[in-house]
Amino acid sequence: MNPTIGWIRQLAESWGVPAVLVPLVPFLVLLIVLYAVIGLAAYGALRKWPRADKTIAFWLFISPWLIGFLIFTVGPMLSSIYVSLTSWDLITPPEFVGVANYSEAFQDPRVAQAIKVTLLYAVISVPLQTALAFAVSLLMNVDLPGIRLFRTIWYLPSLVSGVAQIVLFLWVFNPQYGLVNDMLGKVGIAGPGWFNDASWALPTVILMSLWTVGGAMVIYLAGLKDVPTTLYEAAALDGAGPLRLFWHVTLPQLSPIILFNVLTGIIGALQIFTQGFIVNGGPKDSLLFFVYYLYDNAFQNFRMGYASALAWILFVIIMALTAVTLRGSAFAIYYETEMGGRRRRPRVRRG
């Protein structure tokens, strides 16, 4: 441990700070010193330029984020670049090895497998989820009696998330006692091994991800409610049928929301972790998701340098996929304000 911090902690212990709070002491000391410096600077600036109060207020207001950004993002990013060029097991001091971690990663068959599994998951599950959520939201947008009940029912599964969801689906897809195979058996189909079968594990996870489509559905539904009715009326007067209304009014109006959901969906899908963790990468590494492999290297094998290199590879993949999506979609997205339309009315109403 850092000697200065060790000294601060010893001092805290001698003051009788409860053991649970001791780790907090160096952190708080750091923070107080930081804010003392900021406060003094602000005071000095205000005396010199009395009109600068707005500027000073701005920087003070964003200071929690700014400090967090420096401590938890910029600092770690810079040190992550350095660590990725070293070999380090947390115990012996880091040893500089140049780009050896990266060249190892490019030859590691498990990295290739992890990239393959993760990309396959993202490329299949995101379009499927988007299409399903959008279709369902169209269905839920019809003005039928009792539609609110249906909306609630479809949204409910989204509340079962994280570990609880995987634990549930491990049993839903249990080859012997599970829900799905029992149902398939009743109609005379012998179900596959699902999570236990290397060739079925990934499709199973994709299928499972569709269960929580309700969250995205609600977003599309809100977007549908926001489409100005005048557009439909005008188009209908021009003789547009339901299909043309959908293609030329609904879809363009919703395209920014779809893009937003696809982008966050891709980023989220590439960072999938829990599913792989619970099944330890699945049979024959069939669920060796990239972040799980990264975690495994960092916190199970304590190969911090290699894990950092993997993190940067993931970063490049995410940036590349985001850029491709943005470029590919640029022609298809309609932004009202860019076309000289009026400003959107406020989405958030009184609650």
Binding site: I67, M77, S79, L90, V167, L179, R344, R350
Partner: protein, 298 residues
């Protein structure tokens, strides 16, 4: 509140026009029936695993093997829930989960509202550039900073404590800063002018005028944050080793590998973990819809 935010009068008139028309289901009766069938079958598919989870949590181990896909509650072993609570230090884990959910919610809401307000209302030189940086960090995957952050907390002696799960929340997160900024920029600037005339400082203005008016946003974002923090798994998996500091998801994951065959017990624990989310959903259905609408906001 109603006077402050434009409620979009245009839709009101449009709704009146639509109401004058006959409802959809009267105009297209056959199609309506088809829609109901689709909706019904879909709902069944979506809610069935959910009901199965609850039914399984009430069965005996042998009952699970016999029942298969049935959700018919032939057994009511409420004892499974007692077992779930007593067979491992459930309340200890629940307390840890609560601590790592509620404190970070307060921290995130406060720091993000503060920054969001600054970006929306205190337009000064470079504020636009800084906001662009905030947006850019939204794209940065947390994994890139995962290993060095672990080292940082290791240096502070915080490994195997709850602090790494709590402290970063007090330093804002770009996505929620963005949401708060959107919300605050929709509020009228005249409010700020009035407060300044009254001799109110910026912080006082934020705390006494803007934040109370932002209550819908605060509630909606808090609920979103609850779901996120309550189900967080990667964080505890990295920082927590000892039993004493495990959160419920981490405990359930360990439970899954140890007691892999005790399905009823696993399901009961899963239900218990989901219960707070369910409760919040039914208490604040409207705010959740609002909150999710935010998320998809342009």
């Amino acid at each position: 509140m109603a006077a402050l935010v434009d409620t979009g009068r245009a839709t009101d008139t449009a709704a009146t026009v639509r109401r004058a028309d006959r409802p959809y289901w009267r105009r297209n009766l056959p199609l309506t029936l088809v829609l109901y069938v689709v909706l019904g079958l879909g709902s069944l598919a979506f809610v069935y695993p959910f009901l199965w989870m609850i039914a399984t949590s009430l069965r005996s181990l042998a009952g699970v093997g016999n029942a298969g896909a049935s959700i018919w509650p032939s057994e009511f072993l409420w004892g499974n829930y007692t077992r779930a609570i007593t067979s491992f230090p459930f309340w200890r884990y629940a307390l840890n989960s609560m601590l790592t959910t509620l404190i970070p919610i307060v921290g995130t809401v406060f720091s993000c509202a503060l920054a969001g307000f600054a970006f929306a209302r205190l337009r000064v030189r470079f504020s636009g550039v800084v906001f662009a940086v905030v947006l850019a960090t939204m794209l940065l995957p947390g994994e890139v900073t995962m290993v060095p952050q672990f080292m940082l907390f290791n240096n502070l002696g915080m490994i195997d404590t709850l602090y790494p799960l709590i402290l970063p929340a007090f330093f804002g997160s770009p996505f929620y800063i963005f949401l708060f900024r959107q919300f605050f920029s929709r509020m009228p600037a005249e409010l700020a002018d009035a407060a300044v005339v009254d001799g109110c400082g910026w912080f006082k203005m934020f705390l006494l005028v803007y934040l109370p008016l932002a209550r819908p946003a605060v509630v909606a974002i808090s609920i979103l944050l609850f779901m996120g923090y309550w189900n967080n798994f990667l964080g505890p998996a990295i920082y927590i080793n000892s039993d004493q500091w495990k959160t419920l998801p981490l405990a359930l994951a360990g439970f899954q590998s140890v007691n892999g065959t005790d399905t009823p017990l696993l399901m009961a624990t899963s239900v218990l973990i989901t219960l707070p989310c369910l409760a919040i959903f039914f208490l604040a259905q409207k705010q959740i819809t609002n909150g999710i609408t935010f998320t998809g906001g342009r």
